[in-house]
Symmetry: C2
Subunit: 451 residues, 2 copies
């Protein structure tokens, strides 16, 4: 089901050029009989990153898209990126040059001014001066490109989360902001070039998990008769922490090993490396420092971000020197739920069917499929879309059907706040006739040194 390995390796080295098709945005403006589309946001704004491919600073940029008066085969719209001061050259490179129709053809062809843009939307950059308000510049650019606002609240489409001050500038310029779903919808279906990026970061993701698994496989349990042990057990029945490289192993030490492995592969942990051990493995967002003990679940959820802004996401759970019990039962149930969920993944299936099947399977194994936060059972949804945001559409608990190009996590899990948690998560591409797991990693509750 996966792509040919050789082709995949070649794509890793030479990924297809990453370019956003702005035609759906132009069409949304036309369909709404609006004057323009306007987005305003900083480097943390997923919509702006997706639309512009500009990895700007923590100061806001603005993007304005308008249809051309008379669309031709070559030109359907215009787009202006209002970039912050000192970022003009980077914006030219990332927003304009990368979207030229000739981007793939190399040198020797026509000059930049002679060739059009791959999607028929002509792009330009207007650089702000220091202190300019992005929203003010966007309003001016929208009035300029749209031939001036009519003054009676002509519509401008925006993402719902556009900053309020930008919306006020648009209103003052005579536009009436109205929110659109066009960007969120476009982001959900990944192009081949986007899939290349996600595959690449997901390979680094599972390499990070493999590093943690190797550390866990290399740990030593302390002799329970020793003095050290007696001290470690003073307050409860739990076994003393594992030792690794001469020191007690903690979730923070494991996290640093994972994050260093990610960094060595050119991706960044993005603050998303969640590692819990024992009861803290039941905390969905644990980033603290806890001793790692034998016989208890160690849950590793790794979601790094690659250089083009795309995230990976994978989770594995291990038990060192386990003796069965809750963890083993939970692992078997979650593996079954994972299979049940994946069996549903294909185009045309209502997304929430996937969650429903996972939940039903967990219930069949005796776990509460509708547990609330802090309760024992399955406490979250089965999956979410992943792209330039870690969480985007579609949700596997939400409305709508799966479509080819959707990239979603499949991540059933069960938790007991007194004991720990088990979650198994892969990243899955919905294909024309089913799905492809992006960067597989083996399963198994006992950690092993892989390769």
């Amino acid at each position: 089901m996966s792509e040919d390995d050789a082709a995949a390796t070649d794509r890793e080295k030479n990924p297809r050029p990453l370019r956003t098709d702005l035609r759906p945005i132009v069409e949304a403006v036309r369909d709404a009989d609006a004057a323009a589309f306007v987005a305003v946001g900083d480097r943390f704004d997923g919509d702006l990153r997706y639309l512009s491919r500009f990895a700007g600073p923590d100061r806001p940029s603005a993007l304005v898209v308008v249809p051309t008066g008379e669309a031709t085969a070559d030109t359907v719209g215009r787009a202006v990126l209002c970039a912050p001061a000192l970022f003009g050259e980077q914006a030219e490179r990332e927003f304009v040059a990368s979207a030229r129709a000739s981007h793939e053809s190399g040198s020797g062809g026509p000059t930049d001014d002679e060739v059009g843009f791959h999607d028929g939307v002509a792009r330009e950059v207007r650089t702000e001066r220091v202190g300019d308000r992005a929203g003010e510049r966007a309003a001016a650019a929208a009035a300029d490109l749209a031939g001036g606002a009519s003054g009676d609240g002509e519509g401008v489409l925006t993402p719902a989360s556009i900053p309020h001050d930008a919306a006020v500038y648009l209103e003052r310029a005579g536009f009436g902001p109205a929110s659109t779903e066009a960007v969120a919808t476009a982001r959900a279906r990944k192009t081949p070039a986007e899939r290349d990026r996600i595959r690449r970061v997901q390979r680094a993701t599972v390499a990070g998990i493999a590093r943690a698994e190797a550390v866990l496989a290399d740990c030593e349990a302390v002799d329970e008769g020793s003095e050290e042990t007696a001290a470690g057990r003073a307050d409860d029945d739990r076994r003393p922490p594992l030792r690794w490289d001469g020191e007690p192993l903690t979730t923070e030490r494991l996290r640093r090993e994972v994050n260093a492995a990610l960094a060595a592969r050119g991706v960044r942990d993005a603050g998303n490396t969640v590692i819990g051990a024992g009861p803290s493995a039941a905390d969905l967002h644990y980033v603290g420092d806890d001793p790692v003990r034998p016989g208890e679940t160690v849950l590793l959820d790794v979601s790094p971000r690659g250089p083009d802004g795309y995230y990976g996401d994978a989770t594995r759970t291990f038990v060192v020197d386990g003796d069965g019990g809750w963890a083993r039962r939970a692992y078997v149930a979650v593996e079954a739920a994972r299979e049940a969920a994946l069996d549903e993944v294909e185009p045309g299936v209502p997304a929430k069917t996937v969650h429903g099947e996972a939940a039903a399977e967990l219930a069949a194994y005796g776990f509460d499929p509708n547990a609330g936060e802090g309760e024992a059972g399955f406490t979250h949804g089965t999956g979410h879309g992943v792209g330039v945001s870690l969480h985007e559409r579609p949700s596997l608990s939400g409305a709508g059907e799966l479509r080819p190009g959707h990239v979603v996590t499949v991540e059933p899990g069960v938790y007991d706040p007194d004991i720990g948690g088990v979650r198994l998560e892969d990243l899955v591409l919905v294909t024309e006739d089913g799905y492809e797991i992006l960067a597989e990693h083996p399963f198994g509750i006992a950690p092993r040194e892989r390769e």
Copy 2:
């Protein structure tokens, strides 16, 4: 000028508790005769992180702060954090429990319900259901806490960048949103607990730079008579790339070394490790892959983020096997500009004086102090505040005076797009009578293995 080393080491292990004083927000609401303060944002929103200390997900949260009807010594206001579904426990821990007055006293004292909050602002968490709009919840909480909106546009203070949909919900609830500078102003002056965090991440920052410097010191220049050399020089006069660990050294390889060193110290590179070599060192935001050649500038700008959300920021520039010329002249000028800038840093000095002195010094050395983007000379400002955002107040080119507790970069630099760039940057705390450099790293254009 720096704190006692032993005390600093102790603080590294046991940093002071991190708690935000919400009284300035309460006072701003009172002064404006407004009903409430409302902020809405996700994990990337610096204002919300600062105010709530909640490291939430990429879904929005909302914070509502109101003055109490009759302020007493113990209670001056109330604050509600509307946290996303599944994040209730984390919000209780980070927003509520950490702000209890007894936080430092340990166990054995009164229970949580008996003790107040350190700043007299009572905190609570209200968890949203999946799919709830943060702005809608914020409007409901504001109406609830403020005893209902009057219906005639009673004021609600917000940061200017509050999402537009949240502002619309507030308007529908009868409030009139008005932007406030109170948060930006409060963020600029760092408390002792914040300084502990910044010191810690800055120590990791300079360790990352030390790692890159050690790699550069360990490089080998290729014999210029060899065949390999001839190939490497085919297209221009530049010398062949340095070799390290058996392979040509590139900016991407250096970046991975730096980022792995940061990860091993428990901080994350946050996508901010800018490394340029030769002409790309003149690009203020270069994150591409360029060969590192002897005799050319290698500029390393490292700005990681620590576990409590605070950033570090430092820059050093090196030349391996240099022969003087432009790089040496630039280095001497930038060192002098750095000294001239630091000489101005103390409370009461207009911030832009610092930039002015650095620029004047560079001009005295023959570099254009007002160069535009892509031109040769000093193309940017001398510094900016650093906190839970990498760029915050004060700007050393902006209005206002330096005050004790400001933490700013001092980072003069000169660039020539045909040759390279030199920048030297430290992070500086404005003290009662001058300044303290947070985590020093030696200077020197030739890289050396430190420690």
